[in-house]
Amino acid sequence: MARLTINGTTRDIDVEPDTPLLWVLREQVGLTGTKYGCGVAQCGACTVHIDGEVVRACSMPVSALTPEQKIVTIEGLDSPAAQAIQKAWVALDVPQCGYCQSGQIMAATALLAKHPKPTDEQIAEAMTNICRCGTYNRIKAGIKQAAGIAG
């Protein structure tokens, strides 16, 4: 049994303690915006926020989490930075297949929360999620647009 606070709601979830947060979100809570890509914290498709920090949910067992920790998924994003990122993503048509974009947006939103005007180096350091379609340049442009930095 795990007690988790997800997108502002605290709930008890009857799962084995070693179940990764990713599969709890997807299969127990029904939040499928967070994606499975690798299961070994390599690709970032499962990126969520825990207390504002990016976490790769595929490699986070629920036993390591407490109800006090605030888990936010793509479905629960509502900060001004998140809205700016999503708006920029739409304006620039960033996604192609889109499968990695939940994770990309979670990573980009956390970046802007820390660095409202990120440098190119800070963007490169924060954005380590894989995109096989190759949307990296539009991701970079989207972050800059959301941050109000001239591309």
């Binding site: 994606k35 999503q86 192609q96 889109g98 499968y99 350091e125 954005m127 380590t128 096989r132 949307t135």
Partner: protein, 724 residues
Amino acid sequence: MTLALDVSRRGFLAGSAAVAGGFSLGFHIPMSEAAAQGAAPEVNAWVVIRPDDSVSIRVARTEMGQGTITGLCQLVAEELECDWAKVSYEYPTPGQNLARNRVWGNFQTAGSQGIRQSHEYVRKGGAAARMMLIQAAAKEWNVSPEELRVAKGVITHAASGRSTTYGKVADAAAKIEPPKEVPLKDPKTWTIAGKPVARLDTVDKTNGKQVYGLDFTLPGMLNAAVRACPVYQGKLKSFDAASVTGMRGVKKVVAVGDNAVAVVADTWWRAKTALDALKVEWDLGANANASSEATAAMLREGLDAKEAFEGNKAGDADAAIAAAARKVEAVYSVPHQHHATMEPMNATARWTPERCEVWCPTQNGEAAFATAVAASGLQPTQCEAYRINLGGGFGRRATSHDYVRQAVLIAKEMPGTPIKLIWSREEDMLHGWYHPVTMCKLTGALDANGNMTALKMRISGQSILATVNPNGLQNGRDPITFQGLNPGGAEGRFGYSIPNLMIDHAMRNPPLPAGFWRGVNNNQNAIYLECFMDEMAHAAGQDQLEFRRKLLGNSPKHLAVLNAVAEKAGWGKPAAPGVFRGLAQHMGYGSYVAACAEVSVSAQGQVKIHRIVAATDCGHAVNPQQIAAQIEGSFVYGLSAMMHQEITIKDGKVEQENFDSYPCMLLDEMPVVESIVIPSGDFWGGVGEPTIFVAAPAVLNAIFAATGKRVRNLPLKNNDLRKA
């Protein structure tokens, strides 16, 4: 690759009425939205117009990120003259396509063909619908259709001041006999097509709402995890179901065909956990000792083998080389690569003795359907396949629907229960249809004046058709091997005029299946040819641009894209300190492409790609901003492979199981990409793949310019570029 259903058209049509219900829209996510709107008359197969004037355009090709939905809708909407702001799309199903005598044509979405091979009939679909809508209004007002004008879905009769909308006349239009002559607009007059309009499918991809195959659910659904024999063509010997049946959530353990086993559970995580604990014995079969070393030895033997399939021949290359003032020889190699779509393979199936349905990400709904029919043991009229959005295709979901077959076989073991099968990333990596492995020996001749008088190009290695469609071989020869090297043809013509030429292929097929991988054989062919042309230019002591220009005199479109990148990149002018340039050009999938890359290499051998200027002439540019996106994306895919990726085999098994051993390019490695789109207008070329061809050779040639080291064995990570 082709749909082969053993069913007579007459029998199928007769039986299909009950299935298709005339044209009930059935259960499908995009379609169900249309159905929820109530009466939504289709004007014709391509166009549905609702009373509120919203327009739904049917798309037969599959969206996998390349923007084909938006592009195809632009083409229909252009001729339809509807309001673009009111356009949405829906996917017809393969069952409906068969029931309607394949009214939507080919569903195959591969070979960069989405737009170039359907532009004419989709535009005619839009134009015919417009003519019928106008005629319906004319009939209602009792005037001649010629007196009516239409703009953005509003039909007006200037003489009487009357106007109506598409939504109001759609019902009547649907009853009108379709026109026989359907003229199309001059592309010069386009207002929707040819413009950089926003994609139709972006918003849901930014908020988690887009449903992919992996996200799909049905009431009462169970989840399956599968493991196939890790050695190609090996078999399942036995498994000990009792070892996992008591585990939480586990419902059933089943053999899947003769080479795999699956665990079905309430959740996928529990199914996978049980599968990991399951005791399985394999019969590894004849490939148990296969290795990359053995493959390499086999390919090396082919480099000088007597027998080979001819691809392109002119003059007498051997004689010209023997008589040459200077001879240059080099051997290159390109390894197996995996597609590694972000979303692993998956499919959901529900089977009963009367009906089989699958919901799956696929690049070819018809092939997915045919696979489901074959696996179900039922008639086509009893089956349906629904396309779910896919997290990347790159050819994997066009080459094989093995995952659909498995899902149906598992569902057959639990009649009536929907089963969602998901491959783990490891399963996906181990059971790919890999980019073919090849080597190439090139021999070039220069005369005393530095003119290139001969080229021999011996490709040794794997044939894709030999794996996926042996019936497509022509007396054993795989014509696809010669992509971009052919003497002629709209698909991909060898651009250089070299008087003595021999390009041939010694087919050597290793024990690992080959598949269509974005760019397909153009990728290694462009690396081999364009890197070697660079070697020839250096050997001749000539500028690499000028050397190519002299040989492209009979290929003005090849030359135009090369000139365009050279000019924009500033070829011939100094680059930034420490930065070096490399060029490449190629033609494939109907388009002409070129690139100029700028790289620097540190003393420690670290390569930094700063900028790539890319040009494409794809004939008609339906959506320039999406073409730019495809150029950038194709570079990431091609350069990931060039720099980091190889699939190797040891003891019969693929050694790379996840992204830690099969790395992909990340944002910090991404160069600035400057795209030049030159639509010269008299043909239709592809966009999704062509620019991938030139990314790797342009960068490799720039690396040579920077280091004096010629990288001939890929990937780059296996090469030492440190300063000596």
